[in-house]
């Protein structure tokens, strides 16, 4: 048993033939080098480390090339010592990490040093392939850290190098242990076009093309599930100190503006503040304000408002209570909703300074945040200061997952703590309530009433960011509902909330951001200032708060399989664009069918065009005749062959000389036999036949040729 194991270990460690292909080595080196540069570009390693590594790698590959045929026992010992040092360095680094997520950085450092050390001893092809495979970890670590498209060039270069390395390595393997490479016979003046020869570079490019095509197809069709991550979630402080929030106030770097001022000045949504003034108007910029890595799309809620005074929504005036303790901070039980829930994990990467609130989806059950957190009377999370760029925090939230059936069936007493969300100003005109009752006539439950109001607003009101400002003294909701019929999210959300409250249904306005656009490459939801939004939350007895958006739509709480497949998402995007061009009365099914037909027509047309327009396959002309080797006996034999060919008895490709002679003459004749021997000796033998034998053979072959030339 042990003997077999030792033999197996010996076999595994037996020296392999060195890889002599410089091109394959350079390709592997380039791939590893690209991995190291990619790692440095995402700042996963320090500057000095990156410099040292990028200098050491070429040197290591040069040493490895020069010593590929030697028993590098002293290098191996050195590498072992180096590996121990790298491990000690890693252990030292992980002692200083604050969160489990940060272990990626020391790990990247360790992988990189192991890669550099290994590069000193890569004599064989298998070692090079191992090096190439392990360089994938560098790219993976860099990819897991990268948040932008700047990683893409590294990925393209890396795969180009990997394709070249694998292709050249395979070529080297094909040629290994063989007796040589077969060549295309070339006639004078032959070119690659006439012979159809393909250069090695073209071969590699073709392989790269096939790989890229396969990769794109797989990328488009393979589902990309994003599981709910509940461990090693990152959080860290941002750059510099933010604006401090005092008392019950929310500090907002975009705040302090009066009516008519831009609402997302400095990239922070003005609506996420102590109050939301429905008289404020402004433009929304497309500046990226945050990236969110999340298991699914959701509304990133910053604050909820309690009181409405006729033109402004306000947060509670009481000072928020500190949540205390270390991360993860747990959401207090009294604010938690019940019933079926779905979970979504999020990590927020702040790019532009944001108000002193914690954006999160739905109900933030667990929060990992560097710094103190507090909570106001109605459950909005506050931070001690504004969120500065570079701030990272993570949240595991839950969202109500009850379907329409459960929501329609939700009945019961409204708790005392929730009745505050029925508040309405006394100055609210009666016609608002009357309108609400008229819209919801026939509805027997809160859910249907919400949907009917949403439908009414969608059908009768126009969305416009520059809607008219209500005159002083007028109720903003009444003005919107009965005077202008034009508004934006704040008006839609406020009107819905006020009408629901007037019907005795607890509701509140929430402000924050929509999910943003998910990058197909980075996987991050990229949230812009223009994604600032307001929506509503409605309370259902026994189930808690549920989000509704009278303006657009709330993302579903469960991510569908189609949402995980990029191709399906792309199709949906295209269907939306095509649907916008089609008549409104057309059903979704018909729009999808038309979009599908359009896609098929484009793909089919492209295919047909390619078939028609592609260059004709290079089929060379007749192959040149093989060069004539040998001396005069061979020439005489060639003459005989030609004479036989003229007589219609030419030599077939697989026919041997002996078989030809057997057809052409009597092989039992000694002279004929000797002629054949002389030909074979001259054509195939190590030494030509003696002069006399050659003379006799030529004479005999000429005689035979003469026989066949004679008329019969």
């Amino acid at each position: 048993m042990s003997g077999g194991l030792i033999a197996a270990i010996r076999r595994a460690n037996a020296p392999r033939p060195p890889e002599d292909s410089i091109a394959a080595r350079v390709s592997v080196f380039a791939a590893v080098f690209t991995g190291a540069v990619a790692l440095a570009s995402v700042q996963a390693i320090s500057g000095p480390t990156a410099t040292l590594v990028l200098v050491a790698l070429p040197f290591a590959y040069w040493v490895s090339w020069k010593r590929r045929r030697k028993d590098n026992w002293h290098i191996k010992i050195g590498l072992s010592i180096g590996a121990i040092f790298a491990l000690m360095r890693f252990l030292g680094q992980i002692g200083g990490i604050a969160t489990l997520d940060e272990i990626r950085f020391p790990l990247a450092d360790l992988f990189l040093w192991v890669q550099v050390l290994h590069s000193f001893d890569v004599p064989a092809r298998k070692d090079l392939h191992f090096s190439l495979g392990s360089s994938l970890t560098l790219m993976a670590v860099a990819g897991s850290i990268s948040q932008s498209l700047s990683y893409l060039p590294f990925l393209i270069v890396y795969f180009a190098c990997a394709v070249a390395a694998l292709s050249l390595g395979h070529r080297s393997e094909i040629g290994e242990g063989t007796d040589g490479w077969m060549k295309t016979p070339t006639a004078p003046g032959a070119t690659a076009r006439t012979t159809g020869r393909v250069s090695r570079t073209t071969d590699i490019l073709r392989a790269a093309g096939v790989t890229a095509l396969a990769a794109v197809v797989l990328f488009l069709v393979v589902p990309q599930p994003t599981g709910v991550r509940t461990f090693a979630l990152p959080f860290s402080l941002g750059n510099g100190a933010g604006l401090g929030a005092f008392g019950s106030d929310i500090a907002n770097p975009g705040g302090g503006a009066g009516g008519g001022i831009g609402r997302s000045r400095l990239g922070a949504y003005f609506g996420v503040d102590n109050e939301m003034d429905l008289r404020v108007r402004g433009q929304l910029s497309d500046e990226l304000v945050m990236r969110v890595r999340a298991s699914g799309p959701a509304m990133w809620k910053g604050v909820v408002f309690e009181k409405y005074d006729g033109d402004t929504w306000k947060v509670p005036e009481a000072e928020p209570l500190s949540l205390g303790g270390d991360s993860p901070h747990l959401y207090p039980l009294q604010f938690r909703s019940l019933g079926p829930r779905s979970h979504v994990s999020q990590t927020f990467y702040i790019e532009v300074e944001q108000p002193s609130v914690l954006f999160a989806a739905g109900q933030p059950d667990q929060v990992w945040f560097s710094g103190s957190l507090s909570i106001d009377e109605i459950g909005s999370l506050r931070t001690a200061a504004t969120l500065t760029p570079g701030t990272v925090y993570s949240v595991v939230s839950s969202r109500g997952a009850a379907g329409p059936k459960e929501l329609r069936a939700a009945e019961g007493e409204i708790p005392e703590s929730i009745t505050r969300f029925l508040q309405l100003p006394e100055s609210l005109p009666r016609r608002v309530e009357e309108l609400a009752r008229r819209i919801t006539r026939g509805a027997t439950n809160a859910y249907d009433k919400v949907k009917m109001i949403e439908e009414y607003l969608a059908d009768n009101f126009e969305y416009n960011i520059a809607s008219p400002v209500p005159p002083p003294g007028d109720d903003a909701v009444d003005h919107f509902l009965f005077e202008t019929d034009v508004g934006f999210c704040e008006q839609f959300a406020s009107a819905t909330t006020v009408m629901l409250r007037s019907l005795g249904i607890p509701a509140r306005v929430a402000a924050g951001y929509t999910p943003g656009e998910r990058s197909a490459f980075t996987g991050y939801y990229e949230v812009k200032a223009s994604d600032a939004h307001s929506w509503i939350e409605v309370y259902f007895p026994e189930l808690g708060w549920y989000e509704f958006d009278p303006t657009f739509a709330i993302p579903p709480s469960e991510v569908s399989v189609a949402d995980m497949i990029p191709l399906a998402r792309a199709f949906r995007f295209l269907a939306e664009k095509v649907g916008a061009l089609l008549p409104e009365g057309m059903g979704a099914m018909a729009k999808n069918a038309l979009t599908g037909a359009l896609v098929l027509a484009i793909v089919g047309g492209a295919w047909v065009a390619w078939r028609k327009l592609r260059p004709a396959p290079r089929i060379p002309g007749p192959a040149p005749p093989p060069p004539v080797l040998g001396g005069r006996v061979t020439r005489a034999f060639g003459q005989l062959e030609r004479v036989l060919a003229m007589a219609g008895a030419g030599r077939a490709p697989p026919e041997t000389a002996a078989e030809l002679m057997a057809r052409a003459a009597d092989l039992s004749e000694p002279a004929t036999q000797h002629a054949l021997h002389a030909f074979e000796r001259e054509r195939y033998g190590a030494a030509p036949p003696p002069e006399r034998e050659a003379d006799a053979a030529v004479a005999e072959l000429h005689r035979l040729a003469g026989l066949h030339l004679e008329p019969r």
Binding site: H170, G180, M182, T195, S519, G523, P617
Partner: protein, 386 residues
């Protein structure tokens, strides 16, 4: 392996919610998928092998291999393995072969073993572009080559040695020769027939002088090839036997003797070649195989072919396990009136360095049979006493 790495990255991307890992995994899976997607169109390949139709064991020759692509799509980079048994296996590589194109190579090869080879499969293997997925195709390539045994040109061989003749013929032949060509005169020896006395010379010399004639009637020679093998071809006892048989047969042919060859054929059959020329003899011997059958029937057939005045040369392996077969065969030959010459390969010497054929030597000495012993490592001509 690559697919596993790709799926691992996909899982990592899902767990870490990192979109770039999905792209990376798609790239890795694309490498594997690209390898699988490439169709290795090996069906359009045709291989032609060019070799001489006749060779001698040990001869160095040129072997040509041509790979032709008869299809309208290129052949991928591939490896070609030719196990044509006349030579050591050949391994070749080729880059992409264009549609309707061809590649070729000419190699120098040594004929490794004796035999008649009608062809062998050529195996094409392609793993283009990365070697992750491989396709194989075997193509039967018909190429007939006869590798004849190695032989030596003997300067002499005791085909006519008197001691090999039956005693009554020996007696007469030893005296005056049996031919008709007048060779000369010599002094009378007791036993010379009276009719050979040359009276004119006797009168002149004053003593009895007899005429002497050269042997003019060329006796038939039958060569028996048989016995088992010992050692591994091409350096084996039976190969030495075949080489010796070829050398002796060609010598006999050169010296004017009609030659017959006898060996074991299909089970229970005897394979015989008569009146063949040089090429015929060599090709016949090229296809000889070792046999465990007894030599005696072959010896009897050979003696019958050689007729009463002929010579039977028994070429066979003889070892410790088969002692006695050659002795018995020699006795049969002599009993049928032909003379016997034994060329025995010391099979033991191919297995044990100290192999000896003492029993055979003693037994044949008693019957005054000429014996030549082939031993591993010794020059064939020396062993044959040429």
């Amino acid at each position: 392996m690559t697919t596993g790495v790709g799926l691992l990255l996909l899982l990592s991307g899902s767990t870490a919610q990192a979109g770039w890992l999905f792209v990376l995994s798609a790239g890795v899976l694309g490498l594997a998928g690209g390898s699988l997607a490439v169709r290795h169109r090996l069906k359009s390949a045709e291989v032609i092998r060019s070799v001489p139709s006749r060779l001698r064991v040990g001869d160095t020759t040129r072997v040509g291999l041509t790979l032709i692509n008869n299809g309208r799509k290129p052949l991928p980079m591939l490896k070609l393995a030719d196990a044509y048994p006349a030579f050591e296996p050949i391994g070749l590589a080729t880059d992409r072969v264009p549609a309707q194109g061809r590649v070729e190579i000419e190699l120098t090869r040594t004929a490794a073993r004796r035999g008649v080879f009608d062809g062998a499969d050529v195996e094409l293997t392609s793993g283009a572009p990365f070697g992750m997925a491989r396709s194989r195709r075997r193509i039967a390539v018909a190429t007939r080559t006869v590798v004849v045994p190695h032989w030596v040109e003997l300067r002499s061989f005791p085909i006519l040695e008197p001691s090999s003749l039956p005693s009554d013929q020996l007696h007469e032949r030893a005296r005056t020769g049996a031919g008709e060509e007048f060779l000369g005169v010599r002094d009378y020896r007791p036993g010379d027939p009276p009719r050979s006395v040359h009276w004119r010379s006797t009168a002149r010399a004053q003593r009895l002088v007899v005429r002497e004639f050269e042997e003019m009637t060329y006796s038939r020679v039958a060569v028996v090839v048989g016995g088992p093998d010992a050692g591994l071809p091409p350096d084996s006892a039976f190969e030495a036997v075949v080489s010796a048989a070829a050398s002796v047969a060609l010598y006999a042919l050169t010296t004017g003797h009609p030659v017959d060859l006898v060996r074991s054929g299909r089970p229970g059959m005897i394979d015989r070649l008569g009146g063949a020329g040089r090429v015929g003899i060599l090709e016949w011997l090229a296809s000889a195989h070792p046999s465990e059958d007894g030599l005696e029937p072959l010896a009897a057939a050979a003696a019958k072919a050689a007729s009463r005045h002929g010579t039977v040369i028994l070429c066979a392996t003889e070892g410790s396990g088969s002692a006695g077969g050659l002795r018995a065969s020699a006795r049969i030959v002599q009993g049928m009136g032909a003379r016997a010459i034994v060329v025995a390969a010391d099979g033991d010497s191919w297995v044990h360095p100290e192999g000896r054929l003492d029993d055979l030597r003693r037994g044949l000495t008693a019957t005054r049979t000429t014996l030549r012993i082939l031993t591993k490592g010794k020059d064939l001509a020396t062993c044959l006493g040429a």
